[in-house]
Amino acid sequence: MKNIEFRTAASAQGGLVVMAGVPGVAAGSRVQLRDHAGRVRSGLVIRSANDAVLVEVFEGTDALDLERTWVRFLEEPYKLPVSRDMLGRVFNGSGRPCDGRPPVISADRRDINGEPLNPAARAYPREFIQTGISAIDGMNSLTRGQKLPIFSGGGLPHNRVAAQIVRQAKLLGEEAAEFVVVFAAFGASHADARFFQESFEESGVLNKVVMFLNLADEPVIERLLTPRAALTAAEYLAFDLDYHVLVVMTDMTAYAEALREVAVLRGDVPARKGYPGYLYSDLAELYERAGRIKNRRGSITMIPVLSMPSDDITHPIPDLTGYITEGQIVLGRELSNQGVYPPVTVLPSLSRLMKDGIGKNFTREDHPHVASQLFASYAKALEVRGLAAIIGAEELSDADRRTLAFADAFERRFINQGEDEDRSIHETLNLAWDLLSMLPPESLIRVSEEELTKYHKGAA
C-alpha cells in the first residue's frame, strides 16, 4: 500500500483533503502528497472509512490541483529520527534539518505523539533549580522536571526572561550542569528566533541546543507538529541519554490558534472563543511530557512561553495552560512600563512544586516562610497603595506609609534586577530580609519568632 500513489482526491479546503476510494487506510497514518509541480507535502489521516479518507495537510492545500495530486499512505505515524547528533542542529517545524547540513541518520525513529507516561512511573520533582532571578527563586521556585510557563503579552520581555533562565539555570551545589536545551518556536518572528540563537551562541551553549523552528511565515498547520517533534527529541535526550533537558517553547498562543484553525475546518463543536473543547486535552498531551521518571537520571523541565491575548489571563489559552502546568510566571505591563525588569507580577504568579523543593535540606530553612511573608506583605502593601491613590498619601498613617515604602523597595530592589545579574538563593533571601526589616516584626506573622530573631534587622 505504501508504494501505491492514489489520484482520487475528491475535495480540498483549507488544509484538509478528502480522498475517495482508498480502502483500509490506518487512522493517524502519515501521508505524502505530490502536487502537479512535483512539490511534496505531508499530511496525516484524521478520519478513515472505506469510501472516504480525510487528510490534514501540514503545508496547506493552497494551489492544489485535485486531478494532478498523487497521494501515498505511508502506514505509519509521523516519526522523528533521534540521535545524539541532533545536538547543535536546527530543524524546521516538522523536524527536517534546515541548517544546510545533512539529515540526522538514525535507525531509531520515534512516533512524535509519544505515549502517555504511566503515573506510577513518575518520580516527583524535588530538586530546586536556581535561575538567579529573585522573583522566581525566592517566591516561585522552579524544580527539575517542572512545567512552568511564562504568561506574557505583546511587547513584554518574555524572550529575554526565558533566555536569562536558560543562561543561568543551575542546580545548587552543582558546577557545570549536565543540561541541554530543546528550543521550539512556532509562529515566532525571525527576529525572535535570531534573538534566541544569538543568546545561545553568546553563552556558548549552541552545541548543546536542538532547535525546531516554524516561523511566522511558515505553514500554520505544521505548528501542530513542531512541539511534538521537539518533545520527542527532548524525551530521547532525557530518558535515553540521561540529560537534564530544558525545553523552551514559544509561542503557545500561536499553537492554539493553529489548532483552532484546523478544528473549524473539521467542523468540531467549539467550546469557548471558537477553540475546540479538546484544547485542554491537546495542550495536556504536550505539557505532561515534562517530568521525571523513576530509575532514570534525566529530566524534562519545560518553560512554555505564551502571550495572553489582550493581556487577559482568563482567555482560554492561558486559562487552560494554567489548569495543566505546575504554576505560571506572569509578566505585567505596569511593572514593565515602570522600567522594572524582569516585570514579574508576583501575586498571580505561582509555582506549585516550590513547596516540595525548598527549605531545609534544599535551599535554606527560612525560605518557605520568607516567601509566604513576602506574598502576604506585598499583597497588603498593594491594598494600601490602592487606598493611597484614593485618599491621598498624606492621609495615610505612619504604619501605612512604611508599608508603601516596602512595596516600592520590593519592586525596585527585589523584583528588579539586571539581565546579567545572577543572584544566588542566599543573596535573594538576604535581600528579602533587608526588605522585610522595613516592616515592624509584629506584623510579620508568616515567619517564626526564631526566624525573626535571627534575620529581622529591627528585632530585639
Binding site: 493517524g28 507516561l117 506510577a120 468540531d268 517564626s448
Partner: protein, 599 residues
Amino acid sequence: MGKILEINGPLVKLDLPQTVLGEQVRVGRLGLVGEVISRDGNTALAQLYEDTAGLCPGEEAEGLGWPLSVELGPGLLGGIFDGVQRPLQAMWEQSGDRIARGVAVASLPRDRRWHFAPDPRCLAGMPLVGGEVLGTVQETESIQHRILVPPRVQGELLELAPEGEHTVEDVIGRVRLADGRIEKLHLFHRWPVRTPRPFRQRDHAVAPLITGQRILDTFYPLLKGGKAAIPGPFGAGKTMLQHQVARWCNAQIVIYVGCGERGNELTDVLESMPTLTDPHTGRPLMERTLLVANTSNMPVVAREASIYVGITLAEYFRDQGYDVVMVADSTSRWAEALREVAGRLGQMPVEEGYPAYLGSRLAAFYERAGRVETLAGDHGSVTLIGAVSPPGGDFSEPVTSHTKEIIQTFWALSKELADARHYPAVDWLESFSGYVSSAAKWWADNIDPGWEASRAAALDLLAASEELQRIVNLVGVEALSSEQRWTLEAASLIKEGLLQQAATDEVDSFASPEKQFALLTALLDIYRQGMKLVKLGAPARRLIQMPLLAQARRWKSQHSSDDLEALKAKIAAIPAAFEPLLLEYAPAAPSSAMEEIRP
C-alpha cells in the same frame, strides 16, 4: 464477528449486528477495548478507551457480552488503577514507563493468596441474599475486607470454604439459585460501573465528616454521606484541599480519583500517603486509600469512565459497612470528556458546547453519594467531593452552575485569596453548607453546646468587616469609629489566626475539633473583651497595638491537636492581657468585673 467501518478520533463505527448499548467491544489487531454508545441497524458506534491510531477500516471487531465492569475484592487498597481499572503499578512492572496500548492486565492480582475467615453464622443449608457478608479477609492492618455475596445472587448456601488461604479466583462457596442453577462464589465479584449498587434504604446523614480543616469543619461542614463541590480557578487550591481531606478526614476508606489532571499530583499522593499516619487510627494512610488515575494526557474516553469506576469502588466499600470518601479532581474534565464525545456524535450542543444531558448526568452521579442501610443491614456511607474547574474562574458556566444546584456543601475558592496566599482560599462569603444544623447537633454532643452560636458570631463578624472594608476603600480607615476599627481588626484576627491554615504547616495541617473550637472561642473572646473596652472609651489604636494580637495569630502553629493544654493556658490568660487597659478605662471596676461584663 464484526468489522470496523470508520475511525474518527476515539469513535469507531462498526458493523456489529446484535450488540447492545453499553456492551464492551474489542477491536482491531491491537485488541483495543471500548463500549457501544449507539446503534443503528447493523452498525454500532463505539468509543474506545485507548488511542485509535493505526486502526484500519476492515479490521475485526467483537462484542464481549458485558458492560464496563470493575472487579471488587481484596487487593484494591493501596493500589492505583487507570480509568478502566487496569492496575498501573502492575502495568509499569510489566510494560515499562509508558502505557502501551492493548495491554490486558487483571485488575486484582491473581496469584496473591488471602487469608479468608468465613463468618461463623454462614452455615450450609441457610438462605443467602445478595450483599450478605460471607466472611472476611484482613486486607491491610487497619482494614478488614468483608467478602460479600454479589448483590443479585440469592439462594441456598450449599457450602462455604473453611478458614484458609485463597486467591481471588478460588471457589470459596456455592449457592443454589431459585431456578436450581448452582452459582460459584469467589473472593471477588464484578459489577457494572454505570449501575448504582443496590442497598436496603437511604439513611439520614448524621455525623460530620471531620477533615481537620477549620474553614470546612467549623464553618461549612459536610456530613458523612453528603455531597460537596470545590469550584475555583486554576491554582486556587482545589487539589491541595482534596489532598488535605484525603489525608486527614475521619472516613475509613478514601477513593482518590484523578480525572484529567496532572500526573505529578498522583505521584505526590503515592509518595506521601505511605509516610503519613492516620490521626484517627495511627496507621499509614495508604492502607485505607485507593487511587483511580486518568491523567490529562491519557485517553479522554477512559476519563469519562474513571468517575464511574471510582464511585462503584466507593459503593462497594460502603456495602461492607464503611464510611467512604471519594474525591474527584476534576469533575469538569469528566464533563469535558462527555462534551467531546457528544460533539463527535453530532449531538446538539446547548451551552458552551455541552450536551443537553450534562445536568442530569451530573445529578445522577452525585446521587450515588449517601448514607445507607446496606443489604446486609449495616450502615455505610459514600461522601462525594468534586472539584470543579470553571473556565476563567467564572462560576456561572454550565458545570459549576449545575453542580451548585445538586450539592449541599459548596466550598468556593477565590482567586483574590489565593493570590494573597491566604490558604485554604475558601471564600467565607460565597461558600455555603446545608448541613449546619445536623452538624451542630454533633458538635453540641461531642465538643461544646456553644458551637453553633460561636460559628454564627464569627461569620457575622466577617460579614460586618466586609461592609466596613468597602467604606475604607472609599474614604480610608480614619473615617471609621473606634468600634468599627476594632471590628476590622478582630475580623483580620479571625482570618489570619483561624481561617488561614497552611497544608504545609506540620503542626497545623490537621486541627482536631477540640483545637478548632478552642481557637474559635479564644479569638472571639479577644474580640468581645476588646469591644467592651472600646465601649468604655478605649481607642481602637491602643487595642490594636496589644502584643496579644500578634501572639494569638501564632497559636495555631504553636500547638498541635495533641498539645491543647498549653494552648488552653494561653487562652486562660487572655483576660490578664486586657487588665492594664481595663484598669485605665474602667478604674472603678476591679478586675473581676471583667467576667461580669462578658456576655
